[in-house]
Symmetry: D3
């Protein structure tokens, strides 16, 4: 088992759920310090990226603290996407302190980083069918029970900033467009 | 019924049709001055945004004048979209004279503005099934009768700048892509 | 003397002063409709561009109305700068209704437009030594009498939005930097 | 048959295949010099644009040289897309040496250029069902025989830079998203 | 004396020096949690912004840890500049967890935030003549003793990444331009 | 003496002069193929960057051909600047075919490339006092004899596109600003 001085965990954390928390715990066994890189940082208020990077950082702080994780070992850093995929790895290196390895389950991120000879590791994921952010956002949209897939403290924060209501409003504004008669291009 | 000094009506006006005109008339009963904000101003030559903001402003001028509306009470101002939704309300405030309320039927715009504590009002829409811009663009694409849903002066302008022909060309260039064998990702 | 259906007057209007007003009156004798294009629209809060485009549009509306100019003949449209000068004329054409000629005293704008074969006319300027926006901004910075170079209604609006105070604050934050010992590069 | 001093052939060349080569040969009979404009230059690592513009230029050099085409008559110039379609023709003119006509089969490019009164010619395409880049990328994704639709030298280069493997990885990372239960919006 | 739940300290930290450290200590007496916002995050390799945001975050971590500051109370978050000053406050709010007040000595930042009704406090600065980043960068350029104005651990890190050498190279490449005969515009 | 398969020569070529030509000849003795990368490609119509990248490519073609250089060994590729210096080397690699070394006299480019471990070589420059582009642009502005520092064919092309007139117009529009009374900030 490798042991790093400083590793990076990359995700969008829309929202930060129990699967992410589990991955953080795993990775902390293999590194002294962990940078959590919040990808697609500039996006918010879409079905895929409902939360701002500020909100995502806040929910992670709440969750990590509630889980008793030592915050001294963690840095959370937002990384805005860049339109040119071939530059993304350079931006990541420019915006982060030096690091030894990257953990991610995103196959596309893996491709971009490995082409630049950066070491990539895939953290093991438990119960991925339920514990994935797309599923959780869909439960929010349908007003079904999404809270059990997050830490209660994180769920409470999302309700408090009306995050679940926001995503339902986004979804309903999109659906109106989709209900238009066939042939519609919008 | 509220009465504002200056209100804003937001839309993309692709194109400006009888439903928009009706909304303008309604809103003018509730405000002294009206700013018509032309959203997604930088886009043109797509199925969803076929007309430039210059063309859209011109068709609105033609339509408002033909309808006998007092142009002294109207300002038409283009607002380019911004990639970061969380900044859009700030851009709107920066690009417009001070205003008291916003009229829009776009639920997403409503969400963004209400999160910034801006008053939003939904104008009543008559005959929305037909009088919506997506429907009208589809009629243009199929070369069916779209002209009856616009003021004749506006329709004439669109024909004159070959706007209906343009959208058919855009649609046919897209369709070629879609007719490709399944599995195509483009 | 030419007579246009629709002409454009381009400036930054930082702020809108008596020289601009005089030019508008001149141009209105040579055209039916006048588009006032507010350049560098996205900039504000700098020494060169202290006011937002929304504030600039508002001061122009106030000034034109106070001068008894028929607002039905006027459109005020903000034009954001583009980093690529070779594209600026195309953006202008895309964001404005069709026009016949452009009035401007900006030699650089003149160059860009004439290379694209657009007719450019220089309005006559009275008392340019005093009636220029750079001079007026400098008077604001030094807290000297800038008000006499604007219409009183426009001056009042600027004071009301604390525009003169803003530019003094911007200037004082810049000066601190310049007072640093020689060799400083910032 | 027209004869140009300098003509342009526009495409994305994702990848450069036998249909493109055939078009180049045709066009060279009608012009002294040929500029090959590589569109969407900034994009790479997507299903639609897997290769960087550097890789595309390299594969074209290899292919043209292998075909015995006189490279002195050819310039290959990348053109980054611009978000505002109404400015694209101006960018093309700004980034290329002066030219007399444009060859393209892209109907959308044709529309944009003809609105700016640029002469557009559609090169004849042989066997377009197979010899199109979307089909070739799909064959790469399914690991079927794509090599016979390219020059062997170009195919070899793509394999050498692991280009076919790259597109399969991109496709598999996308498919995971698409296999999620219905209702998923991502 | 106010006491905040979460306050923000904004700077560019080019580099992080003893004056910054002193301010952090002060502010920590007035807040539970402190966000250090690293402004102009996207810039590097200029005389004014020699270090990447990743390097700046790393030097702050090193310095804060060496000073025995409890890292659990600190978040360091990069904020890229935006070309439109009127949107900057909105971006700050979007990229940070909720906060109660902002500490900064930058008068321009103060202006932008106060216009958006954000509470701004100026931390007391000791020995500002020497302890300012512009002075320190100038000492680096002249190869004079800059190290005594930083924590030794931070100075060591800068030397290790060849940061002082980098700024000298940047300065020498600029100076060549400035030594050109008068009339030069570059 | 090294010998490369493919080397790059980077410059802005504003304009392409006898010093550049001499460097190209030198480098061609050390490489099979030469890529000439035209930096700051998106800029034009400024004192520092008067010519578009299309114009610069055209003047290089004319000059290289006139000098009898084998165009089959040359590729000329425009590289737009990027606001984030830390990403520039990645963009260069993405937009060019694979290369072995870079020739440049720009110390800043050298710094950026060497930090990414790219081999950089400085071509020997003859008569740099006169043969530098800043000097030549200044001669153009003052309407002094700039033509003797370029190949006659290149000079003729510049006159034909009114390039020298353009730079004088740009300079005169700037000077007006500079002649304003002291205290002016624009």
């Amino acid at each position: 088992m490798p042991h790093w001085h400083r590793a990076v965990f990359i995700g969008r954390f829309q929202p930060f759920h129990l699967g992410h928390l589990d991955a953080v715990k795993q990775i902390l066994q293999e590194t002294d310090e962990l940078i959590i890189a919040v990808g697609s940082a500039q996006y918010s208020h879409t079905l895929e990226n409902p939360f701002t990077s500020g909100e995502r950082i806040e929910m992670m702080r709440i969750g990590l603290e509630a889980a008793g994780i030592d915050l001294r070992r963690i840095m959370i850093i937002p990384i805005p996407d860049i339109g040119e995929h071939s530059l993304w790895a350079a931006r990541l290196k420019s915006m982060l302190p030096q690091f030894d390895a990257v953990y991610t389950n995103n196959q596309f991120v893996k491709l971009l980083l490995e082409e630049q000879r950066i070491t990539v590791i895939e953290p093991k994921l438990q119960n991925r069918d339920e514990l994935n952010a797309t599923n959780i956002r869909n439960l929010m949209i349908r007003n079904e029970d999404w809270r059990r897939l997050l830490q209660p403290e994180v769920a409470k924060f999302i309700v408090q900033i009306k995050g679940d209501e926001r995503i339902r409003k986004i979804a309903s504004s999109e659906q109106k467009v989709q209900q238009l008669p066939r042939g519609a291009t919008q």
